[in-house]
């Protein structure tokens, strides 16, 4: 019962109410029938009493010893009484005892009357006549007393039945009310408690704590909700975990993509897009903080010729080699990017012309030291490097890059494998 469904509880509850109601109804019907029967018995007793009184009246008013006395009147009354006694309703055992007594008294009455009226007691003295008349009266009185007792028993029965019934109804109703209150409170408590538990679980879910519901009062109906909730919760927690992972993955991917979009696929250094992004950032920063900013533009000398002579693949390898050398020779804060073809730009934040020339020198030197091997042949390349430092004349990044480009062309024009610096009067 405790683990049954709520509807089962309600059915049980309703059924109990019906049974209690039926019990009360049954007992009311039973008691009304009992009372009715008791009334029938009482009425029967009254009739016997009345009939006996008529006979008594007859004995008192008539002289039964008179020679002219007719027994027919008595006999008809006596017959009526006898008939009445035979038509008694169903009696209780104690009433039956009294009824037997009445019947027996009635027989005595008949015999006594027959004895008295036989020969009108012609030999008897007045005394015995009076005595026998007294006995006749006594016999009638005995019947009357018995009928009164019958009536009294009926009254007691009615009284007792009503009292018992009242007691029964009161006690059954009392028990029912207590049971109903207990049942409804229990039911209410279970529903409220279960609802609270479900509500709490929803709230916790909302705040991201995926907890299973454990009902303190399990019931079929709430169990189904709990099952559905717990199932949903499991899936939700699973999905939510993948979302975090997904975020991480997306971030990683984004990073990779960003890297890809900013990287030159061949040399793995930053591409032109990344270059401009970083360069404008550094440019703005240098303007804002009045720091120095120097750009190097490097161009591989005779790259076209090498390409034609050794093939594109070697050309590609050469470009990668140059990038590696540059990467080794610059600071962490410096930025190397492929500007296009065989041209590279190195951004040198917080660096003046001198520092730029030094870096350019280091790169040329390192490249001279590290030639690239090709079919047992060492091939050495050189770089023409243009250097330009940010000055007040530079209004935007383009101008700075153009000036650096100019410097690089000067290096080309002045014989390659050299470093040219563009100074202020020569700016754009």
């Amino acid at each position: 019962m405790m683990n049954g469904s709520l509807s089962q509880r309600i059915y049980f509850f309703t059924l109990s109410c019906c049974v209690l109601f039926a019990t009360i109804l049954g007992s009311v019907i039973w008691s009304s029938q009992t009372v009715e029967l008791a009334f029938a018995r009482d009425s029967y007793a009254q009739q016997v009493d009345n009939q006996t009184n008529s006979l008594k009246q007859l004995v008192i008013s008539d002289n039964i010893y008179s020679s002219s006395y007719s027994v027919s009147h008595w006999q008809s009354l006596q017959k009526k009484l006898t008939r009445l006694l035979k038509s008694s309703p169903k009696l209780t055992p104690s009433q039956q005892t009294v009824q037997n007594s009445i019947k027996s008294q009635n027989e005595n009455l008949k015999r006594l009357f027959a004895q008295i009226t036989k020969n009108k007691l012609k030999n008897a003295s007045a005394a015995i006549k009076v005595h026998l008349k007294a006995r006749l009266m006594m016999q009638l009185e005995a019947i009357r007393s018995d009928s009164l007792q019958l009536s009294s028993i009926a009254h007691t029965d009615i009284h007792n039945t009503i009292r018992h019934e009242a007691f029964f109804i009161i006690s059954v109703s009392g028990v029912s009310i207590v049971a109903l209150l207990f049942g409804s409170f229990t039911l209410m408590h279970i529903v409220r408690k279960s609802l609270d538990e479900v509500k709490l679980a929803f709230q916790q879910n909302h705040s991201g704590h995926f907890q299973k519901i454990h009902l303190s009062h399990p019931s079929e109906e709430f169990d189904s909700i709990v099952k559905a909730f717990n199932g949903m919760n499991d899936k939700l927690s699973e999905t939510t975990v993948s979302l975090a992972v997904m975020k991480k993955v997306v971030e990683e991917r984004t990073q990779v993509l960003e890297q890809l979009s900013n990287t030159d696929p061949l040399t793995k250094v930053a591409n032109r897009r990344a270059l401009f992004e970083r360069a404008s950032m550094e440019f703005s920063r240098a303007i804002r903080s009045k720091n120095k900013l120097t750009l190097l533009l490097l161009d591989c000398d005779f790259f076209k010729r090498i390409n034609d002579e050794f093939g594109h693949l070697f050309g590609d390898e050469l470009l990668i080699h140059i990038c590696n050398i540059c990467g080794q020779e610059i600071r962490d804060i410096d930025f190397l990017a492929r500007y296009g073809g065989e041209e590279f730009i190195i951004i040198l934040p917080n660096c003046d012309i001198k520092g730029g020339i030094e870096t350019a020198n280091r790169i040329q030197h390192s490249l001279a030291c590290h030639c690239i091997a090709m079919k047992d042949k060492e091939i050495c390349v050189t770089l023409s490097i243009g250097v330009c430092m940010l000055s007040e004349q530079h209004k935007d990044l383009e101008q700075l890059i153009n000036d650096t480009d100019k410097a690089m062309y000067q290096a080309k024009e002045n014989g390659r494998n050299r470093i040219e610096v563009l100074t202020p009067p020569n700016f754009h």
């Binding site: 405790m2 055992p93 104690s94 039956q96 005892t97 009294v98 037997n100 007594s101 027996s104 027989e107 005595n108 008949k110 015999r111 006594l112 004895q115 007691l121 030999n123 008897a124 003295s125 005394a127 015995i128 005595h131 026998l132 007294a134 006995r135 009266m137 006594m138 016999q139 009185e141 005995a142 009357r144 007393s145 018995d146 009164l148 007792q149 009536s151 009294s152 028993i153 009254h155 007691t156």
Partner: protein, 333 residues
Amino acid sequence: MDKKTLHLTVITLVICVGVIVFYVNYQSFWQPQKYLVTIAVSKTPLSTPFYVAKAIDAFDGTCVNVKFDEVIGGQKAFAKVMDGEADFGTSSDSVIAFQSLANKDFVTHGMFVQSDNDVKLITRPSVQITSALKLKGKRIGVTKGTASEYFLSILLALEGLTTEDVQLFHFKPDELVHSFSDNKIDAFVPWEPFAFNSTKLLDKQIKIHDTKSLNTLSFNLVSLIADKELVEKAKCVIEGLTLAIDYIASHPEKAKRIVINELKLSTEFIEWVWPDYIFKLSLNQALILSIKSQAIWAVQTKMTEHNDIPNIENFIDSRAMLQVDPGAVNIPL
């Protein structure tokens, strides 16, 4: 089943058991002190309610512990009460009528049985007594001051005779039959079981006359004039008798068996008298009328030396009976 349910179940069980134990022992919890009472019981089947009450322990639930003092005849029982040897006695209305004339200090608490054929006239078949008229001049044995004497006087009076027209011999009830067989008397008027014993003893030598209804005999519970305590005792005795009488009504065969065993009677005898008996507790006007008419008769027929008819109501005490079964009491107050 969880812990709470278990607790509830245990508490309910304990309460139920407590209520049952209390209910079962209810009477002993509230049982007032027990009185020891002696009842002089006449050894006749008319005393059946007493024997049955004892056999079914009907007095156990009442305030009395009952001891029986068995005697022969209601007159003897009455004497025991008057002598203070017994608290209560069982006496016929005839005895009460005679004793009321003597103005003895006694009361009647209730009637518990009636028989309309207890006293019988027994004669010799050879004498051919066909009517009371033929008893004239005959030697007749009776027990003085009892229903026996009263009944004979009525029989005679029906034919205009009195006890002076016959030769009256007084015997104790158990001596009557022997006097008859010894031919000391021609007829005798015994009550049961002496009438039945006579048929067993003398069989064809006797004739029992049909006198049913001519005399109604009742047996009553009598005591000395009752104080409050005696009324309380009478109430308890009557309570026991009520149970016994209900038992007789519902289990007549078992009741008969109890009397047969107690009085060492034959089944035949009980079957002989039983139809004449009405076991019923009452205290009504009919009893008063019966006693009164017998008293008047006794005076008129000079069966007693007293001449004044006392107020019979003075010998009736309805207090005990009213407490047990008010419906059974029907006397003018």
